[in-house]
Symmetry: C2
């Protein structure tokens, strides 16, 4: 498993919170082995975001299929006084054998809508919680952020440049994947090309120019060594002076069959430099050379550059994309909603959740535009398209995973089906989300049961 | 290598930016194989932070020691028209053979001070850039964030709860490590216990309570199944009502030899609940039971709780720690500062860097408090303690890696040696950082050379 860098499953099951293991020991002690239903959902939209994007399901399913404790993990657990030998032995046989329903990747969704529903014996459904959230939250964040960049510059080339500032290896790799689902054209992360077939883009760094004794030699060597899709970085010393040397340089190289695809600007006033550089290139017969910009970009800065009319053909987006810098985490949860056939919920202040296993129905107007979502009990049958599909049965995927291209196309289509106002960068929730009467009744009934049992077990008031 | 989940080196060398490979092909074409010096530094302090914390060096050195292209990576590169077969063949022999100087982990440092200096043939020093930044930036962020939480609650138990909202598996694992260096007492991430020997803490989740038909049974089963360091989560339904049932419950269980370490509060007004719960527990003879709080915490919220006098003994800090939510990335760089014995720098607007290989000297007053740092040329010998040590020679560590405990102790001591004002949560830079006259002269000389060569290679003005 660890040989496949793309499936996100290489760490064993100790990549979890300790309380999952102590609870498992508790369920075992209490002989609680009934089926549980857990659902993953997001409580709130990050400020300004009008919708969320489902992403990361493929990694979750790979994780569930391959979830095991390694021998060294079991040895380590045996060395701790916290766990009984019999309990640790029982973990060696751990497999995920449950069913999963989910919204496919690239789906648009909204707060409180489950995008993943896990149905399994409670120990299995419980133990996988930490990694399921860890995998889903991150890609949901990045796919949504990428979709916003795409909305800001629908006609520009968008490339993920964020690996170096991503939070570790897996974040860098999966950010490239999620950004592609979100509408990016590619990534600079080579491994994402190998793992996911995502187009890989690259230019050059300032160090290449600086290591040469003069910039023109650096440019010439790079063009000669790199005859395909050559991009020169021209802001190492003086952007316009570098641009002015290109027509002369390329005149000679073109005769030898070399060409230049683009120049990259990475500092200063990008709009002003792009305008000047465009003029210089056009005057020098290099009107086919594109201008690519990078450096501290996000959806707002891109929108400003696009609206300024700056002649920039593409953007490299790094740190702020790969860390989802404006919203680096989501208020999301993976919550028990049913155990042993009985609906469950938490009542805590500001953190209560809807009980019971659910389905989400989406209705559209005659023009295809989404008019509302309704969160309902799974047993209800309402109008509209049900959004959660069975994707895993008995611990195995029900069908071959769809391609990343399919997820990307789904998102493009679903965003087009949102009301215009919900697609803006400073959006309100794009679509009203209703809760069915059936679900409201179930919640009231669940609360009555909880209240009754609390009163029953109450000791004398102090 | 991929068997060791802790060294961060399991991905091969394709976990990099494409431009590293195109530049390597360029260096090879240009027969540029001289020694280069690159340095990693941070340009600015995130708002409110008075200092930065060096962390991640161990993972960087493991990466450098084991950096290889895998066979499947080389095959993939051969399949792309961008690279010549001879170039890809040359990559199969890639090894990092250079020297590294660095500040040890747990060092306090400031903007523009290099904390890592890589000296190697240019292709080697260039290729490792992306992953070096990826590994260092993240742990620097988290260790600094953790140190701030520790400053807010120096006498409380602090536990990292962030794995689920960390950005992927490696981020979760390394956040636990960096938080421990930063002063945390432990983590909920079990794998961090196995990999790094960090103390692992765990409580229980709401689901355990909800899966039971009543809360008292859940508590009793958990205490019986989990006789060591038992912590009960008491906010699933009604915090105070749950607390009121504990004295009666524990009276029976204590006779059987069971005990309760703490209760956890995870929602609502934590200070108000803690005060009420403390009173209930004390009145019920449970004054030895500690109160642990979690839920949306960061250094500011912790400080507010501590200042309120709320009887909270420990804090679980999750999302905002593991994502460094107020500053999810650093303005950091790994820059070429010397090639073939000649100092190099970039001149771009707002992004210029200091040229040449450097040393940082730290001076202290008679009371041991740091008075200033000075960034100097490596050849200069200034007063004060030099902060960069040789840690790798010829691609091998010069000595056995120090323990994570040593790094943690270093940080604790170095923070004590900072002026009081620089340790506050809303701090200005804690210490003045000077640039030596020698380094200023080198920068001026470097610029003169660059300017001369630019003028020489200039075509006729348009």
């Amino acid at each position: 498993m660890s040989e496949d860098p793309g499936n996100g499953s290489s760490p064993g099951l100790l990549l979890t919170d300790l309380y999952q293991l102590t609870m498992l020991q508790g369920y075992r002690y209490a002989r609680m082995h009934e089926m549980a239903v857990f659902e993953f959902f997001v409580r709130n939209l990050p400020t300004g975001r009008g919708y969320l994007v489902a992403a990361g399901l493929d990694q979750v399913l790979s994780f569930l299929e391959s979830a095991r404790f390694t021998a060294s993990e079991l040895d380590w657990l045996r060395s701790r006084e916290q766990f009984t030998p019999a309990f640790v032995d029982s973990l060696s046989a751990f497999r995920f054998t449950g069913d999963v329903r989910a919204m496919p990747e690239g789906s648009v969704f909204f707060p409180h809508e489950p995008i993943l529903q896990v149905i399994a014996p409670i120990s299995e459904a419980q133990l996988v919680e930490t990694r399921v959230i860890n995998l889903l939250q991150f890609q949901v964040l990045i796919a949504g952020k990428a979709a916003r960049c795409k909305a800001a510059a629908p006609n520009s080339l968008l490339v993920d440049f964020g690996l170096r500032r991503a939070h570790g290896s897996e974040a860098g790799l999966l950010a490239a994947r999620a950004a592609y689902i979100g509408g990016f054209d590619g990534t600079s992360t080579v491994l994402a090309g190998q793992c996911f077939g995502i187009p890989v883009y690259g230019t050059m760094a300032h160090s290449f120019v600086e290591a040469h004794d003069d910039e023109s030699s650096a440019f010439e060597n790079f063009v000669r060594a790199q005859p395909v899709n050559t991009v020169l970085l021209i802001d190492t010393y003086d952007t316009e002076r570098a641009a002015r040397r290109l027509p002369g340089l390329m005149a000679g190289l073109r005769e030898e069959g070399y060409s230049l695809s683009a120049v990259r600007l990475d500092s200063g006033d990008l709009a002003a430099h792009a305008t000047k550089v465009r003029r210089i290139l056009d005057a020098g017969g290099l009107d086919a050379v594109r201008i690519f910009a990078s450096g501290g970009l996000d959806e707002y800065r891109i929108l400003k550059l696009v609206r300024s009319g700056a002649p920039i053909d593409g953007f490299g987006v790094g740190s702020r994309l790969d860390t989802s810098a404006d919203a680096p985490y989501l208020d999301c949860a993976y919550k028990l909603v049913e155990y042993a056939g009985v609906a469950r919920r938490k009542l805590s202040e500001t953190k209560s959740t809807w009980p019971g296993r659910k389905q989400v129905y989406r209705t559209r107007g005659d023009n295809g535009i989404v008019t509302a979502d309704c969160i309902a009990r799974a047993e209800e049958h309402l109008d509209g398209e049900p959004l959660l599909d069975l994707v895993m049965r008995g611990g195995r995927r029900v069908e071959r995973t769809e391609t990343i291209e399919a997820a990307r196309a789904r998102l493009r289509m679903q965003i087009e089906q949102l009301p215009e106002a919900g697609r803006q960068l400073d959006a309100l929730p794009a679509v009203p989300v209703r809760v069915s009467d059936g679900l409201r009744s179930l919640a009231a009934e669940t609360d009555r049961c909880i209240e009754e049992r609390l009163a029953l077990s109450e000791g004398p008031a102090r």
